[in-house]
């Protein structure tokens, strides 16, 4: 009997040896006369256990990890192919506490299905969302997405259904659906994992968007740092065309929609939606002033839906399970689930998808298990390079849009990067300015020049004469204000976020006295 063994083909798993483990299992199993079929699945997002090998048994899939090539012989001796116990064993994957405590909606199939196989996707509920959508009118689909409360997961948190409505109402013979897969925020990797682990779901979500707004062409703009995601999407698009899931008369409905992948070229600003449009048009990725809204005049001047990978990949679940089911999850105006990406100096990093309402402490301590180094947590950066650093005594904050905003922080794309007490926050503030100087598109002065000045001023604070420090700090605060108020886009506009958070919470790292009023637990303001 053939035993199915899963070894992730996710680029994270590959970066720690999953290909070699695959080869070793194939070679050694065959040398023992065992018949195995190896599936390269996506990752479950438990990166501290990668490469995580799973074996299909009558009871379910049994997990082992982290597996190295040197472990393979011993694992086979112990009865890996029968799901037998071993020191690296974790029992049934579905029973692993870290996963059991999550609510995987957007990531329901990642790590489960074979991303190369449309059959595997369909067998796990794929295409149910599109089928449901095609049975409704396009405007009812827009309404369902609006009712679900789904907000854009790319960073700005704009309600997805409202954006779609604008495009649906626009009159044009040509409209586009563009997926923003630039995922430039350091500390984030969920878009990559989804495209590598469950690419058909993204295609399905984009097709639903196309139906809802009346578009027949779309693009997925993927950053060049993700070659595996590019290959995975291209392979899935080709397979989808073959099955009639893309092209003309999709599922016999009369709907026509096709997709193309475009690859970025190493520019963070191309994640900003209008810069992405310029890049998709083959030009320099320069930010466009708004108005016009891309929803009305976007790609090649046509009405365009632009959504993040996670937003689009959530849509099929909203349609197949109903907007009420999604809307029932979450808190306040943060509905549904959030895919957190736990990274940096953390013992158990990876994907944590739960309904909104989790606190930062639950995420970092309970899921993350504290720091990887074993030292105390000192700072957590939430929301990517433009996000604030929160101090260890502010971890009680709930990770939803509104509460984070009240703490001067933002959710962004859901990246959470943990630092221990060896971090030099002065350097982190400097890096925020350095990154902005490096990645600014150059269109407006507050950002282009301000960030360069910011680096200089922070350098003077850090190494200049102490008696000049107070003056330089005042200068830095002015500069932050200028960038916030005078920048055309959020690159220059939000770079002050991490800098100000260091001034507020870690002033001693800039050689200045802590503020007089102490920071109360749970109040990072």
């Amino acid at each position: 009997m053939t035993v199915t063994v899963f070894v992730p083909g996710d680029s994270g798993a590959r970066a720690v040896g999953a290909d070699d483990v695959t080869d070793a299992i194939a070679a050694q199993a065959s040398a023992r006369g065992s018949d195995v079929a190896i599936v390269r699945n996506g990752s479950r997002g438990m990166y501290w256990l990668e490469p995580l090998v799973e074996v299909e048994t009558p009871e379910g899939r049994v997990a082992y990890g982290p597996v190295t090539v040197a472990d393979v012989a011993g694992l086979l001796d112990a009865g890996l192919l029968g799901g037998e116990p071993h020191p690296l064993g974790h029992g049934l994957v579905s029973r692993i506490d870290w996963l059991e405590r999550q609510q995987r909606v957007t990531f329901a199939r990642v790590g489960v299905v074979d991303p190369a196989s449309p059959e595997s996707f369909e067998a796990h509920g794929g295409m149910a969302g599109l089928r449901a959508a095609l049975a409704m009118s396009p405007l009812d689909v827009v309404a369902a997405v609006t009712d679900s409360g789904l907000r854009g997961r790319g960073g700005a948190g704009f309600p997805t259904g409202i954006k779609w409505r604008t495009v649906a109402d626009a009159r044009s013979s040509v409209k586009f659906v563009c997926c923003n897969a630039d995922e430039g925020d350091s500390g984030t990797f969920a878009d990559r994992m989804l495209m590598e682990g469950d690419p058909f779901t993204l295609i399905e979500g984009m097709t639903i968007a196309a139906y809802a707004v009346g578009s027949s062409e779309g693009y997925v703009y993927i950053r060049s740092e993700y070659p595996d995601a590019v290959a995975s999407m291209r392979r899935a698009i080709a397979a989808a065309r073959e099955r009639g899931w893309l092209g003309s008369d999709i599922l016999g409905s009369g709907l026509s929609f096709d997709l193309d992948v475009r690859v970025g070229a190493g520019a963070y600003i191309c994640g900003e939606e209008t810069a992405m449009l310029d890049s998709l048009e083959g030009k320099r990725g320069m930010v466009r002033p708004k108005p016009p809204l891309p929803a009305l005049a976007g790609l090649f001047g046509r009405p365009t839906v632009i959504n993040n990978v996670l937003s689009l990949a959530t849509v099929p679940m909203v349609l197949s399970q109903g907007s009420q089911a999604y809307q029932a999850l979450g808190v306040g105006r943060s509905r549904g689930t959030q895919v957190f990406q736990l990274a940096g100096n953390v013992a158990r990093g990876g994907i944590v998808e739960t309904a909104f309402g989790l606190t930062l402490a639950e995420l970092v301590d309970d899921f993350g298990g504290g720091t990887r180094s074993g030292r105390p947590v000192r700072a957590v950066q939430v929301g990517g390079p433009l996000g604030a650093y929160l101090p260890a005594d502010a971890l009680a904050v709930h990770l939803d849009y509104e509460e984070l905003a009240a703490h001067g922080a933002m959710l962004g794309h859901g990246g959470v990067v943990v630092f221990d007490d060896s971090v030099d926050m002065g350097q982190q503030a400097r890096f925020a300015m350095e990154f902005c100087a490096e990645e600014s598109c150059g269109k407006c002065t507050p950002c282009r020049v301000g960030a360069v000045r910011g680096v200089e001023v922070i350098d003077r604070i850090l190494v200049g004469p102490p008696e000049e420090r107070a003056g330089q700090v005042a200068l830095l605060e002015d500069l932050c204000e200028l960038m916030t108020d005078g920048s055309l886009c959020a690159m220059g506009g939000l770079t002050p976020n991490p800098v100000r958070s260091v001034l507020r919470h870690f002033p001693q790292d800039l050689g200045i006295e802590p503020a007089l009023e102490p920071v109360r637990a749970g109040d990072a303001r």
Partner: protein, 166 residues
């Protein structure tokens, strides 16, 4: 291995990709893919074929940090400088990499063997610090594993084209 640049080969690559919508960036990508960099002599060819100005071509070429105007070393190494990597020794690894290879980021070693670059996030932030060697990602890299990667003959990477996308 990249093809040796020539006007004829360049013109062929340009023609192959000129038909796509918004062709300038895809054409430059294709040239770099084929020849390892975009030769200065390609600029007027691209401009003519796509009916844009040389300044437009130059503008795109210099905007994107991936696009090179000179050949890189035989091997390319990129070190992640993003925050998640910084949190687990990324600053030290960045310094170490430059010291070990005797070049700064963006430079090629004197013997032409290795180009060292910095990159801001590889999406391996739960496996940090991360680097790539000839486009192949590596996670949990410390100074010792970095040295081992440098010492290894990176032209022999049997499983370079595998995984989900293969």
């Amino acid at each position: 291995m990249p093809t040796e640049w020539s006007i004829e080969a360049g013109a062929r690559v340009i023609a192959d990709h000129a038909g796509v919508r918004g062709p300038l960036l895809p054409v430059l990508h294709a040239l770099q893919h084929e020849f390892g960099y975009v030769d200065a002599a390609a600029i007027p060819l691209v401009a003519k074929r796509l009916n844009v100005s040389r300044a437009d071509v130059h503008g795109v070429l210099t905007f994107y940090s991936d696009l090179r105007t000179a050949p890189s070393g035989a091997r390319s190494i990129a070190v992640c400088r993003g925050e998640a990597c910084q949190a687990v020794g990324g600053h030290a690894l960045a310094d170490h990499a430059q010291e070990r290879l005797g070049v700064r980021f963006g430079e090629t070693t004197a013997d032409g063997s290795t180009t060292l670059d910095q990159v801001f996030c590889l999406g391996l932030c739960a496996l940090s610090p991360a680097v790539t060697v000839d486009g192949r990602a590596r996670g949990r890299v410390d100074e010792a594993t970095f040295d081992a990667l440098v010492a290894a003959d990176a032209t022999v990477s049997p499983s370079a084209d595998r995984g989900v996308g293969a």
